[in-house]
Amino acid sequence: MSNELLGKYASEVFAGLVAPLEGVEVSAIPADDPLAKEDVLVRMNRELQRALEKPASERRWVMVIDLRRCIGCHACTIACVAENKLPPGVVYRPVMTEEVGTYPNVTMKFLPRPCMQCDLPPCTEVCPVTATYKNEEGIVVVDYEQCIGCRACMAACPYGARTFDYGYTYAEQAPTFDGVVIGGETAAGYEHASQEYGEAWKREGHSSESPVGNVRKCHFCLHRVKDGILPACVTTCIGRATYFGDANDPDSLVAELISKPNVVRLKEELGTEPRVYYIV
């Protein structure tokens, strides 16, 4: 019995594991199959390469977040922490969670909140030493060697998008036993390897080469973008709810999305002109 069964189905089961035989046709994925569609990441990546060919001042980086697709997995938050080696107490892109309704009609709403990269940012004008400013591409950046740590920008940001680096490390309590547990020192080395703004930042001490004592914020992963890689939160989003690109490119996905009427920006009444759009 079992031999008969194997004889009947074995050729079909293993057919996919061997090279196609000469003369055997392999059918293509049907056009209506979801796998046949191009992943938006592929499209955004292509558009990113196109945008990078333009002068920096002609790009208008925007982020679009489709709240209908966000499942509140926090993968973007963690990807950002991992990418930027964020220490404890520093977060660039938390996801706000809100419970709506009363039992049994209850649902959860999620709101990922990166820096809004406002076109009229209240945080930059309050900085007494121009340590935070909009760069050529319109991204609000922080110069870690210039910031005096007054936290005026934190008070001014209407989105709470800035946190202060008080010098904590995840590894500081980790044990190390020679030859047994590599813990503390190895982890410390990992934490010290932030590549934000395309520079290698250390966390030792309170030196000018360290972000400790500074206000920190999301910068749309500029160090990745300049190398043609999408921001970490975008590539990590399992629901494909976060989109990134050049809104000055009329054929880009983001330009297409933000032209729709179901797009909102947070606290528009404050006149900050955010560059993060939410699809609702």
Binding site: G89, V95, M96, R113, P122, P128, V129, C150, A155
Partner: protein, 384 residues
């Protein structure tokens, strides 16, 4: 006796404070309780308080040198000295709050003039210089035009820097509790109010050799100023809070309820209102009590405590409302909280600052001012 007690209190405060200063300078800010959501805490509040005190002391010095109010005659130098001590104390408090205090020079050499903080740093530096120059002229040429000119400039600057502090908070459109048009207007009133409180203490406790009649008259005038400014302050407070409660905007309600019924309710009702306002106003309204140096000095202390509490109750509640709903629960980590009670280290640093200010005023009054008087008298004789 009261002076000796004040010396002891100042010395103990400074001694306790040295521990906090050491921790802050050598171990950083981790043991402070302000964080990323409430980023400005006790030290910022004490900066507002002490800088306002300096401005108020200068305004009251002008009562002697500019407006020639007879009751204030001979007190100008002392008040200028008090301003010269309290302003650096305030700047030290805000300096400790900076993540990179060693970069403060950048505000002078690489300033951003769209920042109100830059204007304040420059403004207070100019004010400090003006206080020092005024004091110099007070010894060398109190009757000359130069003194009057400097005092007039200083008087105007003292109002501007006091109001500027209000703008520093009020300019933040994102913080509804601060973003009140009248905030910059209120601060010069707070400044003169706290200056009067300080002067009640100084005249009541530290100037035993003053002419009894003048002292009584001056204390009574200071009592009237204190009552008037306290009432004005209460009026601002009631106007702000009723408007916020009536308007019902969520962020404002959170902040006002935080003060009235929340974790800072005792500081508001007990310290700011009862100790800092009701008791002094009731006591000082009675001429007999107000003219008694011991009692007037004590009321000065009460008023100052009330004004310091009021600064905390302006700075902290302005930050307790979440900027985005769900922010406090979205990500966990050290200092990502909307709860704030100053840590022991923060109190210790504030203790050092206050101890420095108190001892500075006392030592200046007892030794430095007399020394400078002798010095200038001698140089005048030599010239003759």
């Amino acid at each position: 006796m009261l002076k000796k007690l004040s010396y002891a209190v100042g010395a103990l405060a400074l001694l306790f404070g040295l521990w906090g200063v050491y921790i802050r300078l050598f171990e950083g800010e981790q043991s402070a309780n302000y964080g990323s959501y409430i980023g400005w805490g006790l030290w910022v509040a004490m900066y507002l308080f002490l800088a306002g005190l300096a401005a108020g002391a200068y305004m009251l010095a002008a009562f002697d040198y500019l407006f020639n109010v007879p009751q204030f005659k001979g007190t100008g130098k002392t008040m200028l000295w008090a301003a010269l001590v309290t302003l650096p104390a305030g700047l030290a408090s805000i300096g400790m709050d900076l993540g990179h205090m060693e970069r403060i020079w950048k505000v002078y050499l690489q300033p951003n003039f769209t920042s109100f903080l830059t204007w304040m740093v420059w403004g207070y530096t100019i004010f400090l210089i003006l206080i020092a120059v005024s004091l110099y002229f007070a010894f060398t040429a109190p009757e000359k035009k130069a003194m009057k000119a400097v005092m007039w400039i200083g008087f105007v600057v003292s109002i501007l820097v006091a109001g500027g502090v209000g703008f520093l908070l009020g300019g933040n459109a994102a913080r509804l509790y601060w973003h009140v048009g009248l905030l910059p207007v209120q601060f010069p009133v707070f400044a003169i109010a706290s200056g009067a409180g300080l002067m009640l203490l100084i005249v009541g406790w530290f100037m035993p050799n003053m002419d009894e009649k003048q002292r009584g008259d001056l204390l009574w005038l200071l009592a009237i100023i204190s009552i008037a400014t306290s009432v004005a302050k209460l009026y601002f407070l009631v106007a702000d809070y009723t408007q916020s409660l009536y308007g019902g905007v969520t962020d404002n309600l959170i902040a006002v309820n935080y003060v009235l019924n929340g974790p800072y309710a005792f500081m508001f009702w007990g310290v700011q209102i009862v100790i800092g306002l009701l008791i002094p106003v009731i006591v000082l309204a009675q001429p007999k009590l107000a003219k008694n140096g011991t009692i007037a000095g004590l009321m000065g202390v009460f008023l100052l405590i009330g004004y310091a509490a009021a600064r905390i109750l302006i700075v902290v509640p302005g930050q307790v409302a979440e900027m985005m709903p769900g922010q406090a629960e979205a990500f966990y980590g050290p200092k990502l909280t909307l709860d704030y009670t100053p840590s022991l280290m923060e109190w210790s640093v504030t203790s050092a600052v206050m101890g420095f200010a108190l001892l500075g005023i006392l030592i200046g009054m007892d030794y430095l001012l007399a020394y400078f008087s002798r010095l200038t008298a001698r140089s005048t004789e030599v010239k003759k």
